[in-house]
Amino acid sequence: MSSKALIRISLGVYLIIFFSYLLGPLVVMSLTAFNSSGFPSVSPWACFTYEWFNVLWNDSAIREGIFYSVIIGLGTVALSVSMGLAASIVLTQVWAKFRSTYYTLIIAPILVPGVVLGISTLVFWDRLGNFLGAGDGSMLSNLFHNGIFLTILGQSSFIASYAMLVFVARLQRFDPGLTEAALDLGATHTQAFRKILLPFMRPAIASASVLAFLASFENYNTTTFTIVDYKTLTTVLAQKVRLGINPSISALAFIIITLTVFAALAFEAYRRNQARQEAVKQGKAKAKSGGILPSFMTGNPAAIVFVLLAFVAIVVIGTAQKYSPEQCKIQVREAKQAEIQRRIKELQEQRLIKSQSEARQGPDIFGAPEEEDTGGKPSGAFGGVFAPGNLSDDADADQPEAEKPSGGSGAFGGVFAPTNLDNDEGN
């Protein structure tokens, strides 16, 4: 018995570790969207704020990126879903000896690094344009160097493989006898396809489209080469993250995570509802009526959670218009100022001691009171604070900032560098 308990405990621990590795970073990132600190962080927590959503909303580069991402996504869906469907139908008919070669060919794009696909697309269409003698500025040349055109082609080359896999799974359950029957009854091949195969494939087409759109929307490796002078959401984000980060990106991530959670819950609720109705139809379960909950929510925890979350979201968005963290921000600023004053005093005392001991030519027996507690942070630390590397990306809340104190000595120079203030002025 005890070994069984041991297994259960270790399984539990393992599940907790796995899911915190998977979800922890997303939770932390979501939290940073609500911290007023200019650098995305959860500790030290400054103020609860919605301002980063405003910053995000007013960011024209991100809006432009989303716009082009959607256009490219739609183009990719249209192209890759139709290519994937055709490829999967051909797979069921292809000559048996050729089948495995053919399958390797249509699955290979998934395994080719996205960077390679992007480069090859860019190079090929550039050279095709030259080969066809399209001069600079001609319509063909413009098309072949158009970032949207190239990105749709580059992304479709591997997303079609994903779509194909979805279709192959569905086609395995298709009864070709149905098409034969339709043909025997005088339907043309096109009619048989439209009236028999296409309706059967409709759920697969829907899920392949969603899959293709999401894959296109989040693609970076291929897009970064083929996009040329346009922007997509991912290339804008990558640029922002590399050049310096601020919590408005966390805000965007929070929105995406929330939408994903809603979509997952809605899908799960829908699936359960279908399963339950199926069970009712077959007489295995009773159709419950009455009760407090509407019928689609009974026995459907996903639906209940979905509705609750939607309610919370509406309340939060409603209150967000009125909530203002100004009071809190002032307090934080005052606390920071007090902290700076304290540090200045400390430093001055330190210098005083030092100069005294130097004057006496004695050994530095006093040392520097470096171990003074500053709330679990390295206060040793003046060294750290003044290190140049610290300033570049780290102007977060525990760094002293605000206006230059009158008693400040030259030693503070770096702390008040303009970059440092930039980040905090938003607070």
Partner: protein
């Protein structure tokens, strides 16, 4: 491969309109989006980087110089090796393998647990929880890890709060963040193929082995793992290829001094504007990763047909 008879049969089965539509779409995909671009890139990588006026002229001849640059650097006498780029290449391949192996060990228990405990509400919940990070942008996931691993990130704050370390540890510079990020980015591509094959394993086989007195490690070694092999190899292939070809995670989580091989390709394209050199590096990456994958598949006796199931 295909002869006329096959074609005529194909058109007889599908009708002329549908047949040509199908052939047209598949042909466009395979020829114009896959085969010709790859061949074009291969050809491109064997040419000099010439100004536009000289392209197609007498100077436009084939050369190995782009590949020699990876081996010898800009040293024309080929005396010294291009240690910087070669080291980046080796590091990329080895690290991608390490990430793959790490993911196999991390995912196997969960895949087994999910695959064998069927239908309970708790398992459905776990699967829904798994799907959520799957659809978050790769860049945002790397960004999330950067928040955690940064100098004043959560992990350093926590370590210092617990007095485990006094100075913040530079996870970024030591590439710890990068490896964690790569493992994180593609972990679900390992989990789902494994989960799918283990789910199809008949539970009675395990029961039977246990009734006959087999120990747990033995059951896994003799029954579960052989059954799950196609899924494991398929997941491992995807994780390896994607990690070796990753660009976003190294750009965001990599240290300033260490590079990933794809970043070299990126630099050739966008910083040096030498597409030919970049294409040559990309070909090296593609060919070497494919050779490694095919070798592993041969060793474990898995077919290409198992990928993607």
């Amino acid at each position: 491969m295909k002869n006329k008879m096959i074609f005529s049969e194909f058109f007889r089965n599908n009708g002329v309109v549908m047949g040509s539509l199908l052939m047209g779409l598949v042909g466009f995909w395979l020829i114009f989006l896959v085969i010709l671009p790859q061949l074009s890139m291969l050809d491109f990588s064997f040419r000099f980087n010439l100004p536009p006026a000289d392209v197609g002229g007498p100077k436009d001849v084939y050369t190995l110089s782009n590949y020699q640059h990876l081996l010898y650097g800009s040293d024309a006498t080929h005396q010294t090796y291009n240690t910087v780029d070669l080291w980046v290449f080796v590091k990329t391949i080895v690290a991608a393998m390490a990430v793959t192996i790490f993911n196999i060990f991390l995912c196997y228990p969960l895949a087994y647990f999910l695959g064998q405990s069927k239908g309970s509400g708790f398992v459905r919940l776990l699967v829904v929880l798994l799907i959520i990070p799957y659809w978050i942008n790769e860049i945002l996931r790397a960004f999330a890890l950067r928040i955690i691993f940064g100098d004043s990130g959560l992990l350093n704050e926590a370590l210092m709060f617990l007095h485990l370390t006094r100075e913040p540890i530079d996870f970024i510079r030591q590439d710890i963040a990068l490896y964690a990020g790569l493992g994180y980015a593609y972990i679900l591509l390992m989990l789902f193929p494994m989960y799918n094959v283990i789910e199809s394993l008949d539970r009675n086989q395990i029961e039977a082995a246990r009734d006959m007195g087999a120990s747990w490690p033995r059951i896994h070694r003799r029954i579960v793992i052989p059954h799950a092999k196609p899924g494991i190899v398929s997941g491992a292939t995807m994780v390896f290829m994607l990690s070796a070809g990753a660009l976003a995670a190294p750009q965001i989580l990599g240290g300033p001094s260490s590079l990933w091989f794809t970043q070299l390709v990126y630099q050739w394209f966008f910083n040096s504007l030498n597409w030919h050199q970049g294409a040559a590096y990309a070909i090296v990456l593609l060919v070497s990763t494919i050779i490694i994958v095919l070798t592993v598949m041969r060793i474990f006796k898995v077919n290409m047909g198992d990928i993607g199931k």
